[in-house]
Symmetry: C2
Subunit: 365 residues, 2 copies
């Protein structure tokens, strides 16, 4: 099966449209709730027929949930690898559920229910991983949507809940609320002023953690960090979100201060840096993903500081998504490996920036 292509080109990436609060610094807010069915073996220890039953139960309940009225349902097993990777590159499915981990495979019974900003992964590490994904810094909005879905599904499914431990989860680190909220934030100012290490160290002291673009285990590229809560137990959902929200607000302020310091102390250095990044993206004929992220980081900083005008943050966010391998393969109509992949990436970036600049320059073909 191939994914309904109405997903493309912008399907499922409204979280990247830069319309949300603090969109110049915060790309997106994601919250997920881990839930499991009572008296049912956890996914990772379940037999295939158990997981099939779990899938049927969860998908059945999802079809009745108002929040998922227009949702598409995918049996992950039925998806081509390229499509699973497309979904992963859009941050709509986890690497594990998509069977994309090294040596991994799609788990029988794995399913994905995909609404607009909201969805459910079925038979991931937990039976249900409900998730809500919003543009910008929008914890309350994302949680409100998720709470509604939790209520709708909880009314139809017997969630495993312990009066002392809260929601039970396959991994004890998720028990309690089952809530993990994360904010994808761009911190080039703190990196350039070399204050980032101090800030990240401070986060761990207040129970927060950071990851790269693609969650656990992924490297930080392009100065994009995912900040999230470390603990899920012992506090209410509201307390967890309130705490994360306050800390992220502070990080945003630090980042804005760092940018002002850069503009004050080294304006020409910064201007040179952001325009060089633009020049390379605009003209390079071969780009690795990592270099692309780093250059996009520079250009994004330039847009944020109003040094580069007439270039939308949404364009830059889309480039982060569409320059990944499965997206480039989709455009090319065939699987790509380097050096073709790097060439296709540079071509895509160049065309996008040319389009955004409003004209195609004759010598830039």
């Amino acid at each position: 099966m191939t994914i309904d292509l109405s997903l493309l080109p912008d399907g499922g990436i409204s979280w990247a449209d830069a319309s949300g609060p603090d969109g110049h610094i915060v790309l997106s807010t994601r919250i997920r709730l881990a839930r499991n069915l009572q008296a049912t073996v956890f996914t990772t220890r379940a037999r295939d027929q158990d997981r099939e039953r779990i899938r049927e139960q969860v998908v059945g309940a999802s079809r009745e949930a108002k929040s998922l009225a227009d949702a598409a349902v995918f049996r992950v097993e039925g998806l081509d690898r390229a499509d699973r990777q497309l979904l992963y590159e859009r941050h709509l499915i986890s690497k594990e559920l998509a069977g994309l981990e090294a040596g991994g495979a799609v788990r029988p019974g794995a399913a994905l229910v995909l609404g607009g900003d909201i969805g459910v992964m079925v038979n991931e590490e937990d039976h249900l991983r409900m998730q809500s994904l919003h543009s910008g810094f929008a914890l309350q909005r994302a949680y409100a949507a998720l709470e509604r879905l939790d209520g709708e599904l909880g009314a139809r499914l017997p969630f495993a809940f312990h009066p002392e431990f809260g929601y039970l989860t396959a991994c004890p680190t998720n028990a309690g609320t089952g809530l993990r909220a994360s904010v994808l934030i761009h911190l080039p100012g703190l990196v350039l002023t070399k204050e980032i290490a101090k800030v990240l160290q401070g986060l761990s002291q207040v129970g927060l953690t950071f990851r790269g673009l693609y969650g656990e285990g992924s490297e930080v590229v392009g100065n994009f960090f995912q900040l999230s809560n470390q603990t899920t137990l012992g506090k209410s959902e509201e307390e967890l979100l309130d705490h994360l929200g306050k800390i992220v607000r502070q990080v945003i302020e630090y980042e804005e201060q760092a940018r002002q310091v850069l503009l004050r102390d080294a304006p020409s250095v910064i201007e040179d840096k952001v325009w060089r990044a633009y020049g390379l993206l605009r003209y390079a004929r071969s780009l690795s993903f990592e270099e692309t992220m780093n250059l996009l980081s520079g250009v994004r900083l330039g847009v944020g500081l109003n040094l580069i005008k007439d270039l939308g943050v949404y364009t830059l966010n889309k480039l982060m998504i569409f320059t990944q391998p499965a997206h480039l393969a989709y455009v090319a109509g065939r699987a790509l490996a380097d050096p073709d992949l790097a060439i296709a990436r540079a071509t895509f970036v160049r065309r996008s920036l040319e389009d955004e600049a409003g004209r195609i320059r004759p010598q830039a073909n």
Copy 2:
């Protein structure tokens, strides 16, 4: 005194107009003849009044020479340092005569007679250094002009000549013909294929030597080499030029082969390299001279390989000249030091390339 500004913007740089043979690889051909006056102490050991007399004699003869009919005559002492540097940056005066060497000063009696493609430095290391400078690979043309001038001045001035040693010079390495011919050549292909060391080694075995952009002691930047004859004695002028010409012709062929190898074996690497250079020149906000030369080298290779179209070699040659400190200071109307100098350089390069591209891009200001 300030130089007659009719020199600017293109005055004295017809050698850089890329109109000459093999202009895509050879920037210019320069020949000079060293001459001294009989029974007159050499410049470096002369007293001020001796040098004044030498100057009067040589300038007087120059005014009568047909080849120098429209020439301008400058007393170097009377020129501002900025003007002397302008002339030096245009390759029209030596560092020594301009008094620009570290700890150096203008020698009393120093003068410069400046025609179109031809001129005379007076009281340089020798009493006369006649020089002819042409676009492209043009040894015969450059020598023909110089031979004519040599005849015109030789008829009016008693040149020191020894039947066995030929023309006598202050430094014995110049004795004999007093001729040094040099070809300014761009060899990025041989550098990229790593064959350059072998080629340069070969040159020394056949009596040739190489230098950087600004002659003796100057570093090689931007893959620009000055190839010239090592010896001046024991061969006729024709033999020297014929030998140099054959070797340079071979180097040009090696370079063209290297470029074809690059295009055949690594086309996307080369394309990426030349367009990145263009992108940086087009958008950087701060550029050192060395980086500018290296990027211009990349773009020049791209133009030579027809990867970059609609961009003239003359524009690139002019950028090599006009991005030097005295030229940038002239444009700015004041002396410049880094970081202002590097910013002014980037601005000049950007505007030139924008103009060449035929329009000013609104976001590129």
